[in-house]
């Protein structure tokens, strides 16, 4: 009570004071002796008071303050307060007003004295305090609002249950649908419960960053390091960080480092229901870790999908479950199965009628002022565009539907349109793939039409084919799709199938582990030391066949060895396991570092990793095709893409983002004219840098010296960057304010304002400066035959055995579409956008390329030196089976260089490669010579690779050696050999081999002409002997022509070309041995000579002829003296 009394006393005190006169004015005039007391209003000194407000009142937003000041004064004039306003304020200045008054600036900007009345000043202070109080209220309500939204989240009610159950058990499963707040709240709850090394994994990198920002904001630690994230190449984590968001991949990597994982006390795996390959694997690894380490807890968070799976999987670990219901409004379900007309001619054709009927029904039943949009789920691009056209046509008169397609090949910009809102009385009709099922969440959907279909990519073991096929969705997907209608209000879901159909659907969408090849997973497992693949506790076990195939593939590509029945990584395998990319791409990346062709290979690898840059509708546009023509490479698709990319960079360089009116064409326009998806090139640029980072991290790149910039260049770049950044800021600002702009009906007659600056362009220019662009341009160029061939060799090494040969009947004129065969899949086609579709003559043998076979040799297959095979990146099966991203290679040379198992007959005239192709070289000597060179190059290839892997820094020293090696390779590839090709059928393989050896005993096997270090051994399986790890000699049953040929050769006396020695009655193998020995001697001698002539010519060198050794040398005077001394002694 006392304080209250006190209060009223003070109040009456104030009243008295207020009406007594002010004694301070006098005081001040005494102090500031000024002849003309021209007091001015305080606002007059706004400029002078800026510093004062900042320093003395801690008010930084001075402009805002003056606005407040003016408003306050206006209000004051209207109604005077009946009490001292300071009573409402709980803050005050530390100093008394007198002192603060003294601190006022003395002079104004014009050098005149500042004159402010003390009472005015006190009013000013009061306003400053009120302003401060007002700011305080804003801040507090911000905090309060934050807490309110947090407590209103569905998961908030389960907070205590979560913490309680976490203390009870080591494994906790939290199931809640999107929007329940589990990703942001659960880590905070656990932090509050006293744990302080919490890891939370996310499948996507972007989620790590945004979640860590959000959680830091909510825990009020935005400017502290309590919450951080860690993704590849980037982290914001310090010693005191308590919650770390990281990608699944990163935690997997850490799982092999005991100490890192050992420091976490709670590990949260988020979004486990997505069932990604590595997400599933991580769950398995964590299960193992639970037994290995007893001092951490595991939390799995998922949508309410297939909970039983996880509950059963962690049954022995006594898993606890917390289930959080989502926020859903009631949804009506209407089953409207489409009855197929059995007499309909085009059965496969997509039928738009049922969809249009429903749209019409919506129009009739729901008045346009009742808001709510429509979301249609279809399976593929073609269906979407067909229905989009139909709906457009339907609403042409009423203009009451805006059609928005949504699929992953759309640019982000176009995808974002689905979030904009329609004009009054118009509904959005979003036609989407299953991308809108979970990945993209759109509010305001009231109607959903579910086709019940999805296009699913399934990898088939055996054929190595990716099959993209239309299948029915799972019950779970159907529920997800339905749920999309009830997010903002009650909704309606139309299912274009019957309830019985629904019950027949599979319950859950199959996990990725059943759909994709498993090489990278297996490679990764073995690198973690999990060799016992069969006994790993998979969440869902993949088929034995797919595991087997993956192991075989890894062995084939040289990443895996079988040592004493235990799988073991080769150095290549070890390096590959460090690269988080596809096996084939990884191999290319590693090889690029061996041959010093890093940039072009990185660009190629990036181009092969993204979707094709040629848009899906490109083959219908003839103008675009003609414009693309000059950029196409006759070598095939990947090199054509590289040319596109290079030219795009060129266009970028010659245009500027600011030049809205300049003559130079923007890269976006350039790409659109050519039917190229510019988006892909931006992706490639980003990916290329990521690949470079990956190689850097794996220590495979020698630290190159960055091309330095002159100070002038740097200054220009600095200015440019500043400009660009402000542009980006502006555009982002604009975007923010315009976010969710209104859609216009006309917008969708496909006109887009070309004038607009592209934010992607600006961002591209911020991360890539002119100089970098230039070097990228130079290095990605592949102009000479040598460059192109080397690139193709590197690609082939990555992709082999993915090769295809032409069908024999392709050249006949009646064939409309050319067919190809791979080892496992017959009759495959080229993609319509593939280079070889429009230019088939490049693969064809011309009449004058076909040679007359030698006497005694009969075959209907043409003999030529121009046979080519196609190397492809993948096989895709949709309605037809297609080869993706193909390029051509000379057949025999490629096979000899990359074939894993090469069978040879005794006279080196018949070769069988990898049980797929049989090649006859019916001229004695040609095949033998080529195989020898190939074996030598292979060895060199392997050695260089291993050297590089052991000693990554070495490449610079051996530049010359690499150069020579490349020369040798190119010469080898261009060797002229005449042969024909036959595709082997399974039946052929039965009668191909001798399966016995008459060799051992008859021949001297101590000297191996192919590889001195390789011990020749008998091959019991096929007959003959192993000459290298991949060549089996004398194992093929000879046909008559080959017998004849051998007979003829053996009939002639052998005379060595180099030493002239004559040997009678020598077998072909013995002849080879002799030749190889002679060649070796010759090379040794040459090497010796090389050493003496290795002296580098210098400017003062001159020709010198030594009298003693009769040599002509190019030496400097000092060297001449040295030489004389050497020769003389």
């Amino acid at each position: 009570m006392s304080s209250e009394r006190d209060n009223s006393r003070r109040y009456s005190d104030y009243k008295r004071k207020k009406y007594s006169h002010n004694d301070h004015g006098e005081h001040s005039s005494k102090r500031r002796r000024s002849p003309s007391p021209e007091f001015r209003q305080i606002q007059y000194y706004k400029y002078e008071l800026k510093r004062y407000l900042e320093d003395q009142a801690n008010i930084r937003n001075v402009e805002d303050f003056w606005k407040f000041f003016d408003k306050y004064q206006n209000v004051q004039q209207l109604k005077k307060a009946d009490f001292d306003r300071t009573f409402l304020l709980n803050v005050d200045f530390k100093e008394i007003p007198r002192i603060l008054y003294d601190r006022l600036p003395v002079l104004d900007k014009n050098g005149r004295k500042v004159k402010i009345k003390y009472e005015d000043f006190k009013e000013f202070l009061l306003v400053a305090k009120i302003y401060n109080d007002f700011q305080q209220k804003i801040k507090f309500s911000k905090l309060k609002k934050l807490r309110k939204t947090q407590t209103e989240l569905p998961i908030a009610q389960y907070k205590s249950e979560i913490i309680e159950k976490l203390h009870q058990s080591r494994v906790l499963l939290i199931a809640g649908d999107t929007g329940c707040g589990k990703s942001t709240q659960v880590p905070q709850y656990i932090l509050e419960a006293g744990f302080n090394k919490i890891v939370c994994t996310q499948p996507r990198r972007i989620a790590c960053i945004s979640l860590s920002k959000r959680v830091a904001y909510e825990t009020l630690t935005e400017f502290k390091s309590t919450v951080g994230y860690q993704i590849k190449f980037e982290k914001s984590k310090k010693a005191d960080t308590a919650i770390i968001f990281m990608t699944e991949g990163l935690l997997l990597r850490q799982a092999s480092e005991e100490t890192t994982v050992g420091s976490y006390d709670v590990i949260i795996l988020d979004e486990v229901h997505e069932r990604h390959l590595f997400g599933d694997f991580l769950v398995g690894v964590m299960k193992c870790l639970l037994y290995k380490r007893k001092d951490f807890k595991l939390i799995l968070m998922s949508a309410t999908i297939n909970l039983e799976l996880f509950q059963n999987y962690f049954k022995e670990e006594d898993v606890q479950t917390v289930q959080v219901p989502g926020r859903l409004y009631p949804i009506e379900i209407h089953y409207r199965p489409v009855i197929k007309d059995p007499f309909e001619r085009q059965k496969d054709k997509f039928n738009c009628t049922p969809y249009l009927q429903i749209i019409q029904m919506i129009d009739e039943k729901y008045p346009p002022n009742q808001k709510g949009d429509l979301l249609i789920f279809l399976n593929g691009f073609n269906e979407i565009s067909r229905l989009a056209d139909a709906v457009l046509e339907y609403s042409e008169n009423k203009k009451n539907w805006i059609v928005l397609p949504l699929h992953s090949t759309l640019s982000l910009e176009d995808q974002d349109k689905v979030f904009d809102y329609p004009p009054e009385g118009v509904r959005k009709c979003i036609i989407s793939t299953n991308i809108a099922e979970t990945s993209v969440t759109i509010d305001g959907i009231r109607f959903v039409i579910d086709s019940g279909k999805v296009n699913r990519m399934i990898y088939h073991t055996g054929g190595g084919v990716n099959k993209l096929s239309e299948t029915t969705i799972s019950q779970d997907s159907a529920k997800q799709r339905m749920g999309r209608a009830g997010r903002t209000g009650p909704g309606v879901c139309f299912r274009l199938y019957s309830e019985e159909d629904f019950n027949d659907f599979e319950r859950f969408t199959p996990a990725e582990i059943h759909l994709v090849p498993l090489e990278s997973l297996i490679l990764y497992m073995i690198s973690l030391g999990l060799n016992d693949i069969a006994n790993f506790p998979f969440l869902e076990k993949p088929s034995a066949k797919s595991l087997e195939e993956a192991v075989e593939k890894l062995k084939f590509s040289g990443a895996l060895n079988l040592d004493d029945d235990a799988l073991e990584l080769t150095p290549l395998g070890k390096a590959l396991s460090n690269l988080p990319v596809d096996l084939t791409i990884g191999k290319m990346l590693i090889l690029s570092t061996v041959f010093g062709k890093v940039d072009s290979v990185l660009a190629l690898a990036a181009l092969l990793s993204v979707q094709s840059p040629i848009s899906q509708t490109a083959h219908k546009n003839l103008d675009a095709e003609n414009l693309r023509k000059p950029l196409e490479s006759t070598h095939g698709d990947p090199l054509t893409y590289l040319n596109f990319y290079k030219e795009w960079l060129n266009v970028k360089q010659s245009s500027t983002p600011m030049s809205r009116t300049s003559a130079s064409e923007s890269s976006r326009k350039w790409a659109r004219k050519r039917c190229l998806e510019e988006q892909r090139f931006y992706e490639v640029t980003k990916l290329l840098e990521q690949f470079r980072d990956i190689l850097n991290e794996a220590d495979l790149l020698s630290k190159g010296v960055e091309p330095g910039m002159s100070s002038g260049e740097r200054a220009i770049r600095h200015g440019e960057l500043k400009n660009l950044k402000s542009m980006r800021y502006q555009m982002k600002q604009e975007e923010k304010t315009r976010r969710r702009k209104q859609l216009k009906y006309e917008n969708f007659s496909n006109c887009e304002d070309e004038e607009k600056t592209d934010i992607r362009d600006v961002e591209f220019r911020i991360s890539n400066d002119f100089k970098k662009l230039q070097s990228l341009l130079n290095e990605t160029s592949a102009d000479s035959f040598k460059d192109v061939m080397l690139l193709k060799l590197i690609l082939t090494c990555g992709l082999y055995p993915q090769i295809a040969v032409e069908d024999e009947h392709n050249s006949s004129k009646t064939v409309s579409e050319r067919l190809f065969h791979t080892k496992t899949k017959n009759f495959v086609f080229l993609r319509p956008t593939s280079f070889f579709v429009t230019n088939p003559e490049i693969l064809q043998l011309h009449d004058d390329d076909i040679e007359i076979p030698p006497p005694n040799y009969f075959s209907k297959r043409p003999i030529s030196r121009k046979h080519q095979i196609l190397v492809y990146q993948s096989i895709l099966e949709t309605k037809k089976v297609y080869l993706m991203n193909t390029f051509r290679m000379p057949a025999l040379q490629t096979l000899m260089l990359f074939g894993k198992r090469i069978f040879v007959n005794s006279s080196f005239t018949k070769f069988v490669f990898d049980d797929f192709l049989s090649l006859d070289v019916p001229y004695y000597g040609q095949g033998k010579k080529l195989l020898m060179v190939a074996a030598r190059l292979r060895k060199k290839w392997k050695d260089s690779l291993e050297k590089k892997l052991h000693n990554p820094e070495s490449s610079d020293i051996d530049k010359r050696e690499v150069f020579n090696f490349v020369e040798d390779l190119i010469n080898y590839i261009s060797t002229n050999v005449s042969y024909n090709i036959k595709r082997l059928l399974t039946a052929d393989l039965k009668s191909l081999f001798k399966r016995e050896s008459r060799f051992v005993g008859n021949e001297d096997l101590t000297f191996n002409p192919f590889d001195e270090d390789f011990k020749i051994s008998e091959n019991h399986e096929f007959g003959g002997v192993n000459l290298t790890s991949h060549i089996v000699y004398d194992c093929l049953i000879d046909e008559e022509w080959a017998w004849d040929l051998e007979e003829r050769v053996l009939g002639e006396t052998f005379e060595c070309d180099s030493c002239g020695t004559k040997i009678f009655d020598a077998s072909i193998f013995r002849r080879l041995q002799h030749e190889a020995k002679c060649e070796q001697d010759r090379r040794n001698k040459q090497d010796g000579d090389d050493v003496s002539s290795k002296i580098v010519a210098k400017p003062n060198s001159k020709v010198f002829e030594c009298e003693k050794c009769k040599q002509k040398l190019l030496l400097t005077p000092v060297e001449i003296l040295k030489h004389k001394k050497g020769c003389g002694g």
């Binding site: 304080s3 209250e4 209060n7 009223s8 003070r10 109040y11 003395q56 009142a57 801690n58 307060a81 009946d82 009490f83 009573f87 409402l88 304020l89 709980n90 803050v91 005050d92 200045f93 530390k94 100093e95 401060n132 305080q136 209220k137 801040k139 507090f140 309500s141 911000k142 905090l143 309060k144 807490r147 203390h167 009870q168 058990s169 080591r170 006293g194 744990f195 302080n196 009020l220 630690t221 935005e222 400017f223 502290k224 006390d265 007893k294 001092d295 807890k297 022995e316 670990e317 006594d318």
Partner: protein, 133 residues
């Protein structure tokens, strides 16, 4: 098997509890202190209670309050958030929400303010009357 697991779990639980204890001991000056509003249950960490928060530039408080440095600004800007104070009548801790407390030369919780409404000037009384609990 199950029993074994349970024992192990309990052990690990104890371990965790010990961990917490040792942390509290080790970082004594950094013990987290919470302010909780007795009306709306808002619970927040506070860093200072009193009149003159060390990180509040140029200003002081006219009553003892619960303070945290402004978390929405980079540190050392001299800005704070006043979370709440004790009601000068009933001594309950009250946050700064207009539905929880009212300041007139001291913090009142709304019920106390309504009880002593006559001691306030008329315009303040009008304001108070508008607040309905």
């Amino acid at each position: 098997m199950d029993n074994e697991m349970k024992v192990e779990c309990e052990e690990s639980l104890i371990k965790i509890q010990r961990k917490e204890m040792s942390q509290v001991k080790g970082e004594k000056d950094q013990v987290v202190k919470y302010f909780q509003c007795e009306h709306c249950n808002l619970k927040e960490k506070y860093e200072y209670f009193g009149f003159e928060p060390p990180f509040f530039k140029k200003y002081k408080l006219r009553e003892e309050s619960y303070i945290t440095e402004d978390p929405f600004l980079p540190p050392k800007e001299g800005e704070i958030i006043i979370l709440g104070a004790h009601c000068i009548r009933c001594k309950k801790s009250m946050c700064k929400d207009i539905k929880c407390s009212f300041y007139f030369n001291g913090t009142y919780c709304i019920p106390c303010a309504k009880l002593s409404i006559n001691s306030f000037p008329q315009s303040v009384q009008d304001k108070l009357n508008k607040i309905v609990l």
